[in-house]
Structures are given as C-alpha cells and as structure tokens.
Amino acid sequence: MTTSDETLLSIEGLTVSYGPVEAVRGIDLTVKRGEIVTLLGANGAGKSSTLNALVGLAPRKARKMEFNGINLLDLPPETIVRRGMTLVPEGRRVFSSLTVNENLMLGGAKHAARGNLVAAKADMLDLFPILAERLHQKAGSLSGGEQQMLAIARALMSSPDLLLLDEPSLGLAPQIVDRIFDLIGNLRDRGLTILLVEQNVVQSLEIADRGYVLANGRVELLGSADDLRASPEIQDAYLGV
C-alpha cells in the first residue's frame, strides 16, 4: 500500500443533471495517488452518475474538475481516457460479438506503438490467466465473472493512472466476488489508484483507504475506511449491527 500526498483527482461542486432530474447535487471529492477510495450509497444516490460524469459520459457542471493537473470539464471521454483515467462501467459491457483478444486490443487502442500494445496484452494475460485460455472465444460466451475480469483487463490495457470501477461485484457469485476484491487489492499493490463504486459495503471498506457515503446526490458522510466502519450511520444502514 503506497499512498502519497499527491492529489490525483480533485472535484468541487460537481452536479449531474438529466433534463429536470438532478442526480448529483454539488459534491466535492478528492483522490490521492495510490489510494482506493470508495463511493457508497443506496440505489439512485448518484454514485454511477458521478463516475460517468468524471469520464465525460454524463452531462456535468462543476466549479473545479481536475485530474493530474488537467481540467476535465471540456474534454470528451476519449481524451480523458488517453490522459490516464478510465472507467469499467456497470454491467461489464464487454463487446460480446468480439473475441476476448479483440476486446483487449481495443482497450489498448491509445498505444500508438505496436510494441506497447503487445506488452500491455502480455501483462494482462499474465494477470488474468483465464483470459489467455479464452483468448479467441467471443466475449459474450464468457461467464459473468470472466466478463468482469475482461472488462477490468480491457480498461487496464490503456495503462491508466486512475481506474474507476462501477459495481464490479454486481450479479456475481460470492466466491467470484471475493476474487474480484482480491484483484482490486492486487491492482492497488501494483501502484494503481482506484475509485470504487460498490453496494458491497463490508468488502469495500475492507480494502478502501477512504470512503464517501452519498445520499440523494449529496455527500452525506466521508472519512477513512476505519472511521466509516465505526460510524453509527454506516453500522445502522449497511452493516446490520
């Protein structure tokens, strides 16, 4: 675990509106390099909208939205990804009619040099041996857990500094969920910074350094993972204590 004081992502006053519906209402958020930060909250709290807004897939406004010193506000998703922040979307959304190999290659599309692309793929197949076995299978034929691994590997192909993960454990069997959380821990050990949206509060707070609890598009509670675990609100609402 190597967190630093360097702020990688700094957001102030983020709002996300879909027509008249305000999904996110002015939240502030920071992520330091090397951290795992988790966004918790009930369905409709604004977690996924926040992640989508960060990568430019949702309509957003903010006083400040900086990643690695770059202003994100006017950038389209493809540029944001090329600058080092990417999202593994909710529901995996692998390209099901393309093979595992093709999904990975597209994930590494930003690498101009073929050598870098090949090296990134070799690295991913090393990290996810199951994908090496399934390399020429259609992504749609993989199990849910395998698809989630492919979605994560595909995102990692772009060698991001910050990985946004939206509900990676959703709809997966408990033993697969454990593997996904182990993997997230491994990724942090490799130096990756992660912003994690999860409904699985217990496991999220086990691996996270800090967390934010959202409700109705606002930050309700924030603090270190230990503080959040100990807070009465979290214990009442999520931990069943």
């Binding site: 493809e78 959304r93 390209f95 393309l98 093709e102 290659m105 930003k110």
Partner: protein, 295 residues
Amino acid sequence: MDIFLQQLLNALSLGGTYALLALGLAVVFSIIGLINFAHGELMTVTGYAICFALIWGLPFPLAVIGGLVVAVAAAVLMERVAFRPVRGASGTTLLLTSFAVSAILRVLFQNVISARPIPVSIPTSLSGVITIGPLHLGTIQLISIIVTLVMLLGLNLFLHRTMAGRAMRAASEDFAVLRLMGMRANSIVATAFAISGLLAGVAGILWVAQRGSVDPLMGALPVLKAFIAAIIGGLGSLSGAVAGGFLLGFIEVILQAYLPESLLPYRDAFAILLVIGVLLFRPQGLLARKTIIKL
C-alpha cells in the same frame, strides 16, 4: 435448369447492388442510429462525377476513381455539415435531417446541373455479352457480381483484421464504451460515413454503367430498395443487410421471370408482399441483433 441458372446470375447482379447499398445504410445505422435517406444522392453525385470526368476527357478508369473519391468526400462532408450537429438526437430528428439533405441535394442537381437525364458514355467494351454454355451474361453484369464480391470480402477483412474495423464492430454494439477505449467518436463516425460513401459510390457506378445515364432522381429508387433490404436483414446488422439485398434481388428477378405478363406491372407490389411475409415471421429481420445506440 438453364433458365434458372440464368436468372440466378441476374439476381446476383441486381441483389449485389442492393446489398452494397443496404450495407452502406447499415454501417451508419449500426453506429449512430441514423437511417440516411440521402444515401441515394451519394449514388447520384458519383454518377455526375463520372459523367463530367468523361465529358472533360478523362479516361474511364480515372473517371471511376474520381467518382469514388467524390462519393467518399461527399459522404464525409454530409456527416460533418448535416449530421454531426444533430448526433445523439432522437431517431426522428436524424431521419428528418436525412430527408432534408436528400431534398436539398436533389434540388441542387435539378437547378445547377439539369432536371433531365444526361447520357454517360460507357466504353463499348463494357456493353458486350459473355456466353458460357447456355448462359448469357452482360459484361457489366459480370463485373457487377465480381465487384460486389470483392467489396464484401474487402469489407469483411477490414472489419476483422484492422483496429479501425474492430472499432466499427464494437461501435455498433456499444458506442459509449468504445469511447472509453480512447477511440475518437468523430473519427469512428467519419470512417463509417466514408465506408458508406464508398459502397454508395461503387453501387452508383454499377447502376450508371447499366443505365448509361444519370439524372437527379437516380438514387431514389435503389436506396428505397436498399432500405427494404436492410429491414429484411435486420436493421443495424451488416450481414443481414447483405442477405437482405441478395434476397430482394432474387425475389425481383424471379418475379420478373415467372410472373404472367399481365401481372408484370405489379412486380414490385408482389415483391413487397413477400417482404411483408418475411417480416410477419421475423419482425426483427432475418439476422437482427441487439444494438445499443448511446453517445
């Protein structure tokens, strides 16, 4: 049997042109959800480009290349000027925009060039007939079949062997997620239009070569047929568009050959009846697939 084989060749030739046009519609629809009714005007513009290139004395092969370049450029320009500003809008807005582009281009052709057909001097070497045993095949028909097959094969290779091709296939599944791969939305859409322009250009050349003239409404009927073909195949499915194009060509040629003479004027009505029959059993088209259009 000979007559059947002869009709099969005719069907391949006509269906191939429909397939190329339907594929052009499907490539764009599968990515941005736009049914481009101005696709026919891309055929027409190709026809005029060849016509004027020949009038200016360019040799036929150069005129063909010029026609294709103009078709691709016109398609990319069409996207940049008319469709990019409304990208992500509702299907109705996109459809109406394409009708507007089509109408504006037709009026321009009528007022700036001519409302009447202009003859295109196709080399006499292309007007011959090749006899293989009992079968008679026009040189242009043969070229049409070969060109269609080469285009389909080439497009297939492009879609499966190149990064841009994989991106196009991925874009037809989930455009938003493709942008998360760092692929530029504008380049993907422009590539789709360029391919669609190339396909319309090739179809336009084959159409002009068989008719020997070009007029402002030249593209209207074939693009309507291509639309029907794309619907039969399952809108948004590339292989479906090809299958639909060949099926429609086959239906038309068989009806032309076997309908009693008194019913021949109703050939298209019978063809549409058969299409309705297909859609009653497969409302989503022959080879439909799920398409997520999100920008």
